[in-house]
């Protein structure tokens, strides 16, 4: 609980100060980001302990980057549903380096349908984005119970590999020059 409280306090301070909205001087905003980062790391540690394993969180998934998955060819992905109701037919994306041979095995040990998609070049060129992920493995989660989770194993085994996206069509716009 002490570890969780670090994030709780940081969020309370930031809500009180109307933080992360551009209405503060840059050095103050930098301090908000620092407090938030410390709180998130602390909370991640608590969640990792709760799950009883060597768990890692990736905070750059919003720019399709994750140093953990980019450096492995066999790993587990835990998908947790924070809603109190069941969700069905939702999709998960994980950035990876190579596009070949990715297989996704679901919680019941059965290979699930997956697809490897290309990350747009413009995303890979975002200033400050680290890592070399050029693809994402996408798969469908049929069902997650309320406050429940499912663990998926991703491996670049080559057997039962998922599908790769096919370039169907391309074209320059009229303004191409």
């Amino acid at each position: 609980l002490d570890e969780v409280f670090v994030l709780e306090e940081a969020l309370a301070v930031m809500q009180h100060h109307d933080a992360v909205s551009g209405t503060a001087k840059q050095h103050v905003t930098d301090d908000y980001a620092l407090r938030l980062s410390i709180g998130m790391n602390s909370c991640s540690s608590a969640m990792s302990s709760a799950m009883g394993g060597d768990t890692t969180f990736c905070h750059s998934l919003n720019i399709s980057s994750c140093s953990f998955t980019e450096n492995r060819t066999d790993f587990l992905v835990n998908v947790y549903n924070p809603l109190v109701r069941e969700v069905k037919n939702v999709y998960v994306r994980v950035p990876v380096v190579g596009s070949e041979g990715w297989r996704v095995v679901g919680p019941d040990g059965v290979v699930v349908e997956s697809q490897v998609v290309m990350i747009p070049l413009e995303v890979t060129r975002i200033p400050g984005r680290e890592g070399g992920a050029e693809f994402e493995v996408v798969w469908r989660v049929d069902s997650l119970l309320g406050l429940g989770w499912g663990v998926y194993r991703l491996s670049q085994s080559g057997d039962d590999a998922g599908q790769k996206s096919v370039l169907l069509r391309k074209g320059p716009g009229k303004g191409f020059s």
């Binding site: 909205s21 551009g22 209405t23 001087k25 840059q26 991640s44 990792s48 009883g52 060597d54 768990t55 890692t56 969180f57 990736c58 998934l61 919003n62 994750c66 492995r72 066999d74 790993f75 587990l76 992905v77 835990n78 947790y80 549903n81 924070p82 109701r85 969700v87 037919n89 939702v90 999709y91 998960v92 919680p107 349908e113 997956s114 697809q115 998609v117 290309m118 747009p120 413009e122 995303v123 975002i126 200033p127 400050g128 996408v138 798969w139 469908r140 997650l144 194993r153 599908q163 996206s165 096919v166 370039l167 169907l168 069509r169 391309k170 074209g171 320059p172 716009g173 303004g175 191409f176």
Partner: protein, 293 residues
Amino acid sequence: REDFTISNDVGLTVTFSGESGLVKGISLDGQTVDLDQNFYFYEGMSGNNSKFEFRASGAYIFRPNVSSTSAAPTMITSNIFSYHVYQGDLLTEVHQVFTDWVSQVVRVYKGRKEVEFEWLVGPVPVGDSIGREIITRYSTNLATSATFQTDANGRELLTRKRDFRPTWDYKVNEPIAGNYYPVNSRIILQDETNGVSLVVLNDRAQGGSSMNDGEVELMLHRRLLFDDAFGVGEALNESAFGEGLVVRGRHWVILGGKDPAPLHRPLAQEIFMDRIISFAPYEESNAINPKIL
């Protein structure tokens, strides 16, 4: 150069112009709506804040320079630079590059009824000393009678009417900003006559409006060069790595009937309380792995 479509197994189809590469229509469950989507910018008002008319657009105040833009935003480009269509059994997506600082992916997933727009904007160019406030606009042929709906902190949906306030006589001083409202989770257009609605859900709170009937616009990014004199003392001109910030985010567009709530309410919950993803190495010899699995 012919128009093309992407679609899925539940009857969702998005039509694109083969000529321009832009979205031009959406259909679901037998309903079809013309849908144009593009990116625009408002020029931010500059000024020294000495008088009302010199008030600058900044962190607290959205104030486009309506005199230079004739109260209409400038389209970033009418024809995108390039597009690529990638198809698979689970999803089909169209990668669109508008300019060197605006690009987007439009996605349709198997079994899902919403269209996903994932936009990437920035660094916003300001080399000409003009601050820019970037919006995306979804234009339809729906007859909306100057009204639209926005949510209040993700709960009650409130009906907004252009250039109107329900409890006082409204005098229009700010034709654009005066019609902007907070959009915390969704903004909705409804055509009562034809029983058609268009819902746009966002992944973060944004400003939004409907400046013309059948249109929805949401503000994605702002880079401004003047302080608005509300105490910050700095312009909203954030930078990283020597450049302006880049933002990436998503909108989900749903085509619904007279009552779209059964579609957008569950989805909004799923967006707000999104799945939390964590990772662990897999090692056959690690006793914890089978336990987790």
